[in-house]
């Protein structure tokens, strides 16, 4: 398979958080979900964010993806500072430059698999690039299922459609929030394999939140979070190195 690697338009990181804090609530009930996080995610890289529950890993992902507002600090997507954008601009960014894979309920039940895949393009009023579409559908092994509605697809197949949708608009970054959390290990492994392929062969950038060391081991790099702060960052992770790090965090 020939990879169509997009040439980077700039040398800056695909996504970047600069000294980000996120505070929920006020007064006695105040929670510092992020307490000054700075991190960069390189283009063409598959990164995982890990940490115990309450560490702020999901909050970081939501802020990076423009789904949540930061209390202080900046978020960049490529050269664009999305932390300064209006809701309208964010909608366009989400539509064109970001892909999402959620843990569950990823698909619009009234649309077929293919319609779900092309939904962001349809919302933008764009025609899909048929060659690219064929390629990603091929990548996630969905060719014979795309005309089915979500309720006729298995959980694994639904997640594959979600991955294909995230790829469809050739986003700058794909954000995945526990994409295998609801799947059995075989389907989960499939999804993680497809995402790996998307990075290696299609030149995509993925940032994934997970609590599963096996899933994290598919990534090029793992960033560890605890109590709203970065507390570890390893490259070329293995299941063992990830588990070691996690154990240290637990202490």
């Amino acid at each position: 398979m020939t990879a169509t690697v997009p040439t980077p338009t700039s040398t800056t990181a695909a996504a970047r958080a600069v000294d980000v804090t996120k505070v929920y609530g006020a007064g006695d009930t105040v929670v510092n979900a992020l307490a000054g996080v700075s991190v960069e995610f390189q283009r063409g890289q598959y990164a995982a964010i890990m940490g115990p529950s309450g560490s702020g890993k999901s909050t970081l992902l939501h802020c990076l993806a423009g789904l949540d507002r930061v209390t202080a600090g900046q978020i960049f997507l490529g050269d664009d500072e999305i932390s300064a954008m209006s809701e309208k601009q964010l909608t366009l960014i989400r539509r064109e430059k970001i892909g999402f894979v959620f843990q569950a309920y990823n698909l619009v039940p009234t649309l077929t698999g293919l319609e779900n895949v092309t939904l962001p393009l349809a919302l933008a009023g764009k025609k899909p690039d048929q060659a690219w579409l064929d390629q990603i559908i091929e990548t996630v092994h969905l060719a014979d299922r795309v005309d089915h509605r979500p309720n006729e697809l298995s959980g694994g197949q639904q997640q594959r459609v979600a991955v294909a949708r995230a790829l469809a608009s050739r986003p700058e970054v794909i954000f995945a929030d526990e994409p295998t959390g609801n799947l059995d290990s075989k389907s989960g492994a499939e999804i993680l394999g497809f995402m790996r392929k998307a990075v290696d062969q299609l030149g995509q950038t993925i940032v994934m939140v997970t609590h599963d060391p096996v899933a994290a081991a598919y990534a090029d790099r793992v960033v560890f979070l605890a109590d709203g702060l970065i507390c570890g960052d390893i490259s070329e992770p293995t299941v063992d190195s990830v588990m070691d790090n996690m154990r240290r965090l637990g202490d």
Binding site: Y105, P120, L123
Partner: protein, 857 residues
Amino acid sequence: MWRATLRGLFAKKFRLVLTSIAIVLGVAFMAGTFVLTDTLGSVFDNLFANTTKGVDAVVRAKEPFKASNQAGGGEQTRPPVPGSLVDTVQDAKGVDLAQGNILGYALVTGTDGEAVQNQAPTFGTPWRSPSESVNQSSEIVEGRAPRAPDEVALDLKTFEEGKFRLGDTARISFLTVEPRELEVVGAFLFGGKRDGLVGATLAAFEPETAQEVMNRVDQWDVIEVKADAGVSQTEVRDNIRRALRDAGLNGDFESITGEQLAKEQSDELKKNLSFFNTFLLVFALIALFVGAFVIYNTFSITVAQRIRELGLLRALGASGKQVVGSVVIEAFVVGALSSILGIVLGILIVSPLQGLLSAFGIDLPGGALQIEPRTIVVSFLVGTGVTMVAALGPARRASKIPPIAALRDQAFDGGAGRRRYIWGTVLLVLGVLALLNGLFGDLSGGSAAAFVGVSALLVFVGVAMLSPLAAKPAARLLTWPAIKGNFITGILARENAQRNPRRTAATAAALMIGLALVSAIAIMSQSFKTTFRSAIEDQTTADFILSPSGFAPFSPEAAQAVRDELPGSTVVEYRFGTIEIDGDGTAILGASPEFTEMTDAGVSRRAAAAFADEGGMLVHRDTAEDRGIEVGDVLDVRFPNGPGTLTVQGFFDDKKALPTDADFIVSTDNWDGFPDPLDFYVGVLKPDDVSTKEAAKIVEGIADRIGGVEADNLAGFVDRQIAQFNQILGLMYVLLLLAVVIALVGIVNTLALSVFERTREIGLMRAVGMSRVQLKRMIRGEALITASFGSLLGLAIGLFFGVMIVQAFASDGITLAIPVSQLVIFGVLAALAGLLAGVLPARRAARLDVLDAITTE
């Protein structure tokens, strides 16, 4: 169970409010109607209690016959009593004072030259000073009593409205004598109140003058009696009865107490009020019926959404009955709260309702609001009952939710079973059969109408049950342009409308009802109007027609004036009366002998010439055939004034161009058997040597001068009649609007619940790049599809009913006319209103926070 139910209910205030509105509006309308008619009833009770104030007993002529089929005017059927009878009554034991009284026709022209007339009668009466009068209803408050033939006193309101000062001259018109110029010497209050006459005007004359101007020389309408001190009303009445019997007069005259008279008059009026009450209640019930659909739908959706919760209750050991109970309790609370709110609102809307009726030409007197226990009890029971019945289906479905549902995570409106469609078909067929029986069966008017009403009910429910079948194709058809243009929001809207056909169909059905009724009425009225116009224009050659400004007939003075001022013209007067033929009181039309020259009613030349002979009559051909009446037959009849005979001189074929539905016509020259010569219409055929313009000027001048009369050319007359008809039509549309509004509330409700149910999905779509604008467009699109679907169904049913009903009247010469552009406008307006109903849920959906939405459980 109670506490859990109530807590759940109040946690969802928005839903509660929207659901309530559906019932609140219907109940308010119902309660408002009751309060309004009860208030009117008490106003009239009061009026008639005042009319008979001081009167212990009355003596009057016996009613010659009971009119069973009274078409057209409200001609009184009791003849006057002779003046000499006063002495007989005076001599009866226990009678302190016996006096004749009259309530006749007298129209006052104000100082500005305009007749003082509301939508109520204009009366004249004799005046006696209170110390000498039996009747104590009025007292002079300005000036003095009329004592001479050229003097008059007016009720204070008329006095003020006519802008009179004491000493001014008032022009007053009568039925049988020339108008007179009388000096206004006083003003009086009737019943102690400025508006004690409830809109009527009253002019009082010196008694002998009163007899003269009101066609009662040596006669009275009634004799009023004041009893001796210590003699009760019933005692004096019985004494008078005895005196009448002793004088051999008890065959012609009767006596009743003052209280009886007041009650009789009041009951008579209340009978008319009850028609009015029924008319308004029908619309209130329609509103409640539509509300029932909304309730049904809301409960269906919430049961479907709470499937996990209800499943959990079952898993924890709640029985199916307890689950039903919890839904029914919820319905009861919603119904009871809504009904109470509705009753309060109903009392508040009485005066706006009265204002609305007045805007459509129905002026009603005001009074202290009468809130009867019946109003509260009936409104509460109906409102609560409708809510609970509507919730019964969803409640039963809730009981069938298995405990395992607690573990599944999909909301699911139980699949539409085949049973539903079978029942829907059965109801639809029964409905159509009921319609056919009602329209073409051999039934009386009342039960035919009942059949048509029940048929509409069955058809509505039947179609609503079957409509999920049509929801998908309809959604596909309606969104064809959007799909063609490949607009993603349009496609999503369509898919949403299709995903739950039952929900879409039930929501649309509520709108369907209003549309069906409006379009059926539009078709019927268009057909009647078109038929009326062509009947008048094709069958009448009159150049001008005089007609009443309001509903009250006018003096023959108008016709006489035309004859005098437009010599050579043909002038035809039409009068309405009742007469007893074959023991049956029936309507009869009085027409001037020349009427066949002006109106083509299919009368033979010979009959036209002969019918005006003394004792001559024309009979409608169908009636004649039914009863075996032939030319030359002499029929024994009773006129209001006494028995007589009428000879059948010929037939008429066609009633369409005649002003009443009467089956009998006599000449106005032979009107002696009827109490008063009141004209309802006057047709004028101008002489050839006078130009139309000139003739119009003369006729219009006469109408202006006389007052209470309008003059028009033929087209203008048709326009005026149609305009009056359109007013009532407009009122019906406005009343039906309430049903449409409730249906729109239903759309808001369904969409709001759907948005709530799809929170996660909406979050997802927003996350992958749907803008707020697109989201709103999608939800409004769903509203538009639902409303268009309901609107189309409604138009189809309305078309069917309208056409069928008009067909039923085909034998009366009514021809079908379909107001296509009007129907299209109704349909489009309803669809657009649906779009509007989508605005609120769309805004709510757009306000959802994306992150909250996608992380919702």
